[in-house]
């Protein structure tokens, strides 16, 4: 009878090594602090409301900082070697390496939203939904962009993040706001605050769930097939 792997122990181990690798890299602070600062300094960035922009920053930058470069790293390859004895072990690895960035984005966002809603009216469900699913979209899109476009993929992700602060006329159109996934938390919170905008909060929530789930499935498959011994083929 096949034994089931110790998912919790694998998850905690992967969290540990992934966290250690991420915070030991200079790149981590550049993504977490540099990208929001760059967006803030752009024309139109200074006028962004602080809390929505902070939620947008943590839901995108934290997952991206954890997952960027991880799939091809030596640490990940080593863990894959250890866990690749069974499909269950490899699945546990992939679930854990997707869970950490997702939690790293979603938990601070939820805390920020809780602090923003204390003492007043709470946020509508669309805001919570977008805040929870955006990190999934963020980490999955980084995995996929990295896989298929390499460095250009990183730049595309960064450009999308900076674009949410854009003041050009077409940045206010519905198509633009649907295509720039990074801006969903900001625009949903603006909609909740009654600032208007071309789209209803339901639309952002719908696309956040759709893209979060869909891209996660694709990223899961990419990560599952990514590994030195597993992917080598004669």
């Amino acid at each position: 009878m096949r034994r089931r792997p110790g998912y919790l122990r694998i998850t905690l181990s992967v969290f540990r090594w992934m966290f250690q690798r991420a915070v030991s890299r200079e790149y981590f602070s550049w993504v977490v602090l540099g990208a929001p600062l760059a967006a803030w300094l752009l024309p139109g960035g200074g006028s962004l409301p602080l809390l929505p922009f902070s939620v947008s920053a943590v839901t995108w930058c934290l997952p991206a900082a954890f997952i960027a470069g991880w799939a091809g790293s030596e640490d990940r390859t080593s863990l894959s070697d250890i866990l690749s004895g069974s499909m269950a072990g490899r699945s546990a690895l992939v679930l854990a390496e997707m869970a950490l960035p997702a939690l790293a984005g979603a938990l601070p966002a939820v805390i920020l939203l809780l602090s923003g809603s204390s003492g007043g009216e709470g946020y509508p469900w669309q805001v919570w939904t977008v805040a929870v699913f955006s990190p999934l979209t963020a980490l999955s899109s980084v995995v996929l962009l990295e896989r298929y476009f390499g460095l250009s993929g990183y730049l595309a992700g960064l450009a999308g993040f900076l674009a949410q602060a854009s003041t050009v006329s077409w940045a206010g159109t519905g198509v633009f706001r649907i295509l720039v996934l990074q801006g969903y938390p900001l625009w949903t919170m603006e909609w909740a605050a009654g600032s208007g905008g071309p789209l209803h909060g339901d639309v952002y929530a719908f696309f956040a769930v759709l893209e979060g789930v869909g891209l996660s499935i694709l990223a899961f498959r990419v990560l599952l097939g990514n590994g030195r011994v597993g992917s080598s083929s004669s």
Partner: protein, 314 residues
């Protein structure tokens, strides 16, 4: 010895250029050595048998021909030990084994019992808290082997060369009913307990030999390099009984002899008779290509006889 088939192949072609399909059956208690350098098919065949990569065509089956196909990454009872095994920086051997035990599905209590036993069996107790990346090469390989053992596999596939201290453990593993496939780049790395040795070239397994057959063939092809002090004239050297293909090299001679012990005895006698000292003696194993050439395989590239002519009644 249990004669059940643990792993078999069906019309397996590892590489695009493989001409003959490989039908192999790995029996419980047996050890198969894939002999071939890094440019040969040995390494790829090793990974294919472990279910870590896909062959060009054909299948690897668990058990005999009626078994389940060994899917990529699903080799629960086939464990693979890579040659260049690494761990994340800072991971200790104990942490590595705990993670491997978790992946193998052992509960924490069971893992706590198994890990000390495996450490002791592999003589790694002193390295339990050492960082895996800082272990010497041979010890690190043993660590990878120890982690593979935690799954209690029936087939162990090793990408060698493996350290000599591992050889008795592999023998013990086979005695316990397991089977071992090990890929090695040269004769000097073959474990003593190997049953069959597959000679590999760039695209396929060219010939399977028993250990004794290979040993006698290799002994005939061994090249000896000897240096005398003071130097010995060539005509005297040519009088050495049994020596063939004598070539003068820097400071001495290189030659082939039918038997190693007889060659050494004759060399000592020759030196003594001519008031010389043997200043250096080196035995160089033949290359795989030389063995294949000796076996005249160029003329007969038929399907490899993996049972050495035995009828196993499978």
């Amino acid at each position: 010895m249990d004669s059940s088939v643990l792993l078999s192949t069906d019309e397996l072609r590892v590489r695009d250029g493989s001409r003959e399909p490989l039908d192999l059956a790995l029996l419980a208690g047996s050890m198969l050595v894939l002999l071939g350098g890094p440019d040969t098919v040995a390494g790829d065949l090793c990974r294919v048998l472990a279910g870590r990569s896909s062959p060009f065509s054909g299948r690897v089956l668990l058990g005999d021909g009626n078994g389940q196909p060994l899917e990529k990454g699903a080799g629960a009872n086939v464990q693979y030990v890579p040659e260049d095994f690494t761990c994340p920086p800072g991971m200790t051997l104990l942490q590595h084994l705990e993670l491997s035990a978790a992946a193998a599905g052992h509960r924490r209590k069971r893992a706590g019992e198994m890990i000390p036993q495996v450490l002791e069996w592999c003589s790694l107790e002193d390295f339990a808290n050492s960082r895996v990346r800082r272990l010497p090469g041979g010890t690190r390989y043993m660590a990878a082997f120890a982690a593979a053992c935690l799954s209690i596999p029936s087939v162990m596939v090793l990408q060698g060369p493996c350290p000599p201290e591992l050889h008795p453990l592999l023998e013990e593993f086979c005695r316990g009913g397991g089977a071992v496939v090990v890929s090695v780049p040269g004769l000097e790395f073959i474990p003593r307990s190997a049953d069959r040795i597959a000679l590999c070239d760039v695209n396929e397994v060219r010939r399977i030999l028993r250990f004794g057959e290979l040993a006698s063939t290799a002994a005939r092809l061994m090249r000896l390099r000897v240096r005398f002090f003071p130097a010995l004239p060539r005509d005297v050297m040519e009088s050495l009984p049994g020596a063939r293909d004598i070539v003068a090299v820097s400071g001495g001679f290189e030659f082939v002899h039918g038997g190693l012990s007889a060659a050494v005895t004759n060399l000592v006698s020759l030196a003594r008779a001519n008031s010389r000292q043997i200043a250096g003696l080196e035995v160089r194993p033949p290359s795989i290509k030389a063995i294949l050439n000796h076996l005249n395989l160029d003329e007969d590239t038929g399907e490899a006889d993996l049972f050495c002519g035995e009828d196993l009644g499978i």
